[in-house]
Symmetry: D2
Subunit: 306 residues, 4 copies
């Protein structure tokens, strides 16, 4: 039976994502993104599930940098997981008894309305993670009465949910990715996404515009661009790009080959089914059949058959 | 005498930046970026100094989001501060006596080589900030023997530096900005930078390329682009742009007016002298004199004087 | 009463165009485009009507070059005239009697089907113009039995039309322009066209793309581009551009100011109502109101009122 | 022995070009460009030499339209021929005796200075071609005393040159092309040119910019663009493009395949050595080796070998 590493401890949203992405696979928690990815690289696990971005907090920069700089891994799947916070207590605790509450600061921020309304006098103490908060509440002699955590954490730590979906906004989403060691790519599904990292050849003005033109000319839509520092000083960045389509699509292949030619380095991170299953808009003249027909035409004219 | 809020506690790199940016001004520490900026907005302080990006860690997203979403502030200055870590101890402690060390996790990461080499057996405990680590070492009965902190923290907490510049790489830099309430902009110096936030009108493919073209056509070079989530779900982003030049430059004014026309919203964050004093390359035909001459020409031809 | 020069002799399509463009004005024929435009420049006439392009033959290069290099004139109107050929004979001549036919070679080409079908044995002799052909048929002792000419030529030379609309295709059109000495431009009508000549700064690759981008970024659509040699050797060209809109439109003004800044020279040839009265598609953010609002915004932010 | 058709009559600049392009080949004069190209198509000749553009007059539109619309031919060579006019007379005629002069109107225009200076009282009569003018002077009982013609015409018609290089400017050049029936292309020489005709898919604004971007993104420089009417009414054009490089170059092949995919039709007109032997500037990342390396890379990543 295969195993996937994930960002632990047990009971994280990341574990919830793993269960949806790979229901039949055993999850193994790791202390941080780097450790989870290292497990995938070393073969200790068969892959990993880690967060990539959150619709409120933005990119998980540790994930971005690990994918860019560490030994290569391939993204083979993605999942959009709604961030639903649950108020967990030891069995028997009632809302009115909650004096000391623990959770991760981001969760604190995102549940501020609920806390002010329902737990106005409670002291909130920062935990390292929302799952860790649940773990602490479950510990014998815990100083905390409740944790704000993923529902899944209740299962692990024997806690009871006394309020669900307590975030101030209901539409916060985290995007998780499944990564695997280099190997066969997922087959194209017609609704795929491709991720890559581009290091510009130099920092000449217009280099980014040039990169975007490589996509635009082949009718490939970008869905995300994220800049990260190269480490060589302020003003020097590299880029994560997500685009529509699969690297086996002719237009995607030509576009990223163009990026490869023009840039210092392109690291291909994978092509995989989009979580939202949205098929790309394929602009006139950029379908695989158009590329195949054009290649035939080019062969003919190169042979002088006009 | 004027006062500037900064990211505390006392002894942070942010305070070191403030001393360089505004030597004669009193600094007032705040617990986080939001609080420091709020002090500038409310008039409790005359402005604030906060970190914007680090050459290794990347953007300080709390700063980006506060500038984008909070009540408006203007960036009026910037500073590039080398990140130089110092090993601080209580007077009399020697290197060999250090068993327990505290610092911020990022500093831990960046001083890993020194620690392995010089303090191989030491336990490292995470602190909330590098300045806070120094504060803890100085506290009576502290469980820690040493802190990795900015040199400035030694002054405040009565600690002694027994090793300086202990980071694994010597070129890490943090960019700090000074912000002020809306009011007169800094005068152009010939080597300025302009910062803005752009919310796209919609997410049509090519919207970002369109934005970059507004800069490119007027010969305005971008020095930085940073995407951030709008909060409306994965796939929806807004952008921070830094470009060369001052908003009073004709080419910059026309470029950002173009952005304003095409986008849902542009928030101008300020024009201010570049810390590196690098003058922009002004492309043929895009100097102020060229714009003025072209405006005259346009007036003439509109009047039929050809 | 005012007078307009036109491309003669009497009875040309150009005269027909003049009658439609300026019904109440006296037309004065000139031997060629240069002479007609010279009459407009010198004040001998109040303006001129000359052909600019034909939907089959293409540009009238003499007109393009005169407008680009000669003393400045303004285009103040345009007309699209269907090219309808008429077979003219001396009164009494019948179709079967036509043995020798004269017309301009272009008309010969365009009426080839009619001639083969209806006048299979006729000899066709080249004339300098279609109107001149009619003139020759009318001359005493003419060696010709018929002319292919504009209908209007029949009036002048006392000839009878025995076949009308004899061209092989019925949709050939010539675009005529009215030019005037520099002076007030025609008022904007909401469906205008602007013509200009652009001399590139140098011949660097991409210069043309740069020019087109100046239009594209401001949402100004080109309706025509024509390259002409500068005279400095093969490979050196300048360009005639027609675009949608009036120079008094903000987007057009900014676009051609941009061209002016980047190019060696821009000669403005005029803004005038489109013959087809097609209103331009005004892209989001490029209407005059958008430019005005953006200018206000720019003034505010430059004053620090953010 | 092979034969090439050319634009006659004997003694034209076109014949002079043919002698330089193909010294060992017999030239056969034809009355016009269409007839010469038809001879090449039908096999009556093995190819043809015709003028394409002149550095003062611009394009030879008949050549452009024949290449675009007629049965396909391939351009296999080009020549830049300086236009040097010679004053030809019957042997024994002296300059002072020249009262009546004949030549083509374009030559008349280009030798205006010489005529005013040296032949102030002479009557100038228009001829159909400069070579034809020489032929007329040589005819028994000719009403003309002299012709302005190519030097080569003197040989044919037994005339004597009494003044050479009499054009007002010495740098006028005509570009001639050699065309052949479809068949093997000339081998790449490292300094080649490629010609093509592009019919846009539709007339949407920005279609031309799109076309130019296909070249620009692959680093292919255009050396010429010429618009011609499609015949479907004013405002509808197709384009002749000349670009640097050979269709066997990867960057050229990919660029014109892109045009082919996006446009209604692309007619390839040929790749052939440049007359000026100027090697193209090959932008970083666009040499054949770069394309080959990128293709390998793409194969690897498509197989998941990252």
């Amino acid at each position: 039976m295969s195993k996937l590493a994930y960002l632990g401890p047990r009971g994280t949203f990341c574990e919830a994502a793993l269960r949806l992405l790979a229901p039949d696979v055993e999850g193994v928690p790791y202390a941080n993104v780097t450790a989870a990815l290292e497990a995938a690289r070393s073969g200790t696990a068969d892959g990993a599930v880690v967060p990539l971005e959150n619709s409120v907090e933005g990119a998980i920069t540790q994930t971005l940098d690990e994918l860019a700089w560490g030994p290569p891994l391939l993204v083979t799947g993605e999942l959009l997981l709604p961030v639903e916070f649950t108020l967990l207590v030891r069995p028997g605790t009632e809302l009115a008894q909650i004096k000391r509450l623990t959770t991760h600061p981001a969760a604190h921020t995102q549940c501020r309305g609920f806390i002010e309304r329902e737990l106005p006098g409670a002291v909130v103490v920062a935990a390292a993670s929302t799952a860790g908060a649940a773990q602490e509440v479950a510990a014998p002699g815990s100083p905390y009465d409740a944790a704000i955590s993923p529902a899944i954490a209740g299962e692990y730590y024997g806690l009871t949910a006394i309020a669900s979906n307590i975030g101030d906004r209901s539409d916060t989403v985290t995007r998780f990715i499944r990564v695997s060691p280099p190997g066969l790519l997922p087959e194209p599904t017609g609704a795929d996404r491709t991720s890559l990292v581009v290091f510009l050849q130099d920092d000449h003005p217009g280099a980014l515009l040039e990169m975007l033109s490589e996509f635009a000319v082949r009718g490939v839509n970008l869905t995300r661009i994220e800049s990260r520092p190269t480490g060589d000083g302020i003003g020097h960045y590299f880029f994560h790009f997500d685009c529509e389509g699969h690297v086996s699509d002719a237009r995607v292949g030509e576009a990223i080959s163009g990026l490869h030619r023009l840039s210092s380095d392109v690291r291909f991170l994978g092509s995989y089914p989009r979580a939202d299953a949205v098929a790309p808009q394929v602009r006139r003249g950029t379908a695989d059949a158009d590329f195949a027909e054009a290649a035939d035409w080019l062969s003919r004219i190169r042979a002088g058959r006009v």
